[in-house]
Amino acid sequence: MPALILSHVTKTFGHDTNEVTVLKDVNFEAAAGEVSLVIGPSGSGKSTFLTIAGGIQTPTAGEVQVQSANLHQLNSKDRDALRLNKIGFILQAYNLVPYLTVQDQFTLVDRVKPQGNLSPAALRELLMQLGIERLTHQFPGELSGGQTQRVAIAWALYQNPDIILADEPTAALDSDRVKVVGRLLHDLAKQHHKAIVVVTHDLRLKEFADKTYAIMDGQMTLA
């Protein structure tokens, strides 16, 4: 059973003449142990797709199943718990909490979810891989765009989620870093059996993907 299934998902914004359909009958599956890449131009509906997959937006029609739980049938508390325990979001705007240092961002997760997070050693290893181990006492405002993005990646992975949803995780990175992140996501899928979904317009990530989808005007096709 795939870790994440979207069936016949449609998303419409606005009403009447202002109505725009951003996702049209999207069917999608992501299995544990695989990196799925969704490639599309700006405005094609990538972020919308990812937020619906992660349960922070509800589809206008269709169903989303995460590890065989139907998101639609969960109350908001259970959806929170699912997001906290099973899903790691790497946000496109790589949002961090401005008043927490890099280390404190992880500490916060520990406070809310004391178990199942990366061990201190594993976290250090992750930070070293991403090249941000020296930044733990900085505030987000003191980081460069690329550093912030890597911290956001580490933050999402820290909860050790089964499913990782990444929105343009490499937008601010140079080619060397893109390779690091691509390999990291690939290893996570293979060695730790995670289901990884990356939406991007960055074709450089293609070599790390098991499956590549194209999204265009809200329609998803397997490339």
């Binding site: 937020t51 922070i56 496109q92 008043y99 909860q159």
Partner: protein, 353 residues
């Protein structure tokens, strides 16, 4: 608590300003209510110190001590126990060469009755003879000393200050205790008059004698000239001040919470439960308001020390706790108004692109 404290530490200026505002508001409320209560007390301190339950006055006096006169004929019909005492009250002006003139309230008492015993002496002793008086401390603040021989109104005889007493004020004037005989002299009445009224600390003293009216002390206090008007004015002033202060604090905390929504949206996207965010908001409001109140109270205490002795300021604990609790509660409510918004904060709003 973790998030709450981290944020306050990171945004020192912003939170400092809010604490500063709570400090100013609570300082203002504390000082004003202290002054109002102090003034109210200056109307009644002497009466309160007697610890009496009722006062019996002339029926025609309209419940006013200064208008009341009891004739010896009437008082003969009364049986006084050790719980009753005569008092004779009249307004006087005290003067002494080289000292400030003071308007005061003369209260004549009987050495053998309970009020004489109730009066506490801070220095010197109680009057033992007709030409001796015991005066409120504010005389000392105005340069009077023990042994001074004071002229009251335009009497030819002089009265020697033999002692001071603390917090003896009646109708916002210092009290001079003396004998009933002196009272008679000062109010120009003959020996046909015994006193202005009878004060009792027993619940059962209710003489049926014609021409007398007995009223409870609290009713009597409310009838003191200007007392209830003054209190109503101050109560309304402080109530309005409180309401406005509370609204201001609530609005500030509301704005503060609204400004944090984008951060909360990020946290919600990561699956941090709304409960954590709500408790963060509440504990932050409490931290801010409590520190503001503590500093405000400390400032008030410093002000009390710095104010000249003549400024009436005194604090009533139930009133203060009410004010403090009110400010605290409003702070929390102000921070909580946006809770619905926090609960429904849309993580999508930060996803961007």
């Amino acid at each position: 608590m973790f998030l709450a404290l981290k944020e306050i530490r990171h945004e020192k200026l912003r939170y400092g300003l809010i604490v500063g505002m709570v400090v100013l508001v609570s300082y203002l409320v504390f000082v004003l209510s202290g002054l109002a209560y102090g003034l109210a007390q200056q109307n009644t301190q002497a009466i309160t110190s007697w610890n009496a339950r009722s006062i019996t006055l002339n029926d025609d006096a309209n419940e006013s001590l200064s208008q009341s006169l009891l004739t010896t004929k009437t008082t003969k019909a009364l049986t006084l126990s050790k719980h009753e005492a005569y008092i004779g009250q009249t307004g006087v002006v005290a003067k002494e060469k080289g000292r400030a003139k003071l308007s005061a309230q003369f209260v004549g008492v009987d050495r053998n009755q309970f009020i004489y015993d109730r009066v506490a002496v801070t220095s010197g002793h109680k009057p033992k003879r007709a030409n001796q008086i015991l005066v409120d401390d504010s005389f000392r603040d105005n340069g009077y000393h023990l042994g001074d021989r004071v002229q009251l109104n335009s009497t030819s005889s002089r009265y020697r200050i033999v002692g001071f007493t603390h917090n003896a004020k009646l109708s916002v004037a210092p009290v001079i205790y003396g004998t009933l005989g002196t009272w008679r002299t000062l109010s120009h009445v003959t020996a046909d008059f015994k006193a202005s009224g009878v004060v009792s600390n027993s619940a059962t003293f209710k003489p049926k004698t014609a021409g007398l009216a007995t009223l409870s002390m609290s009713k009597f206090i409310n009838k003191l000239p200007g007392y209830s008007a003054q209190n109503t004015t101050f109560t309304f002033m402080i109530a309005f001040l409180m309401v406005i202060a509370m609204v201001v604090i609530a609005v500030f905390l509301y704005i503060l919470t609204m400004q944090k929504l984008p951060n909360y949206a990020v946290l919600r996207a990561q699956g941090i439960p709304a409960r954590v965010l709500v408790s963060t908001t509440i504990s932050q409001a409490l931290i801010l308001v409590v520190s503001g109140l503590v500093i405000g109270a400390a400032l008030t205490a410093a002000t009390v020390l710095a104010l000249p002795a003549g400024v009436p300021m005194s604090f009533n604990m139930p009133l203060l706790s009410g004010v403090t609790g009110g400010i605290l509660l409003t702070g929390v409510i102000g921070a909580l108004i946006p809770v619905r918004i926090i609960l429904h904060v849309d993580p999508v709003s930060v996803i961007g692109g």
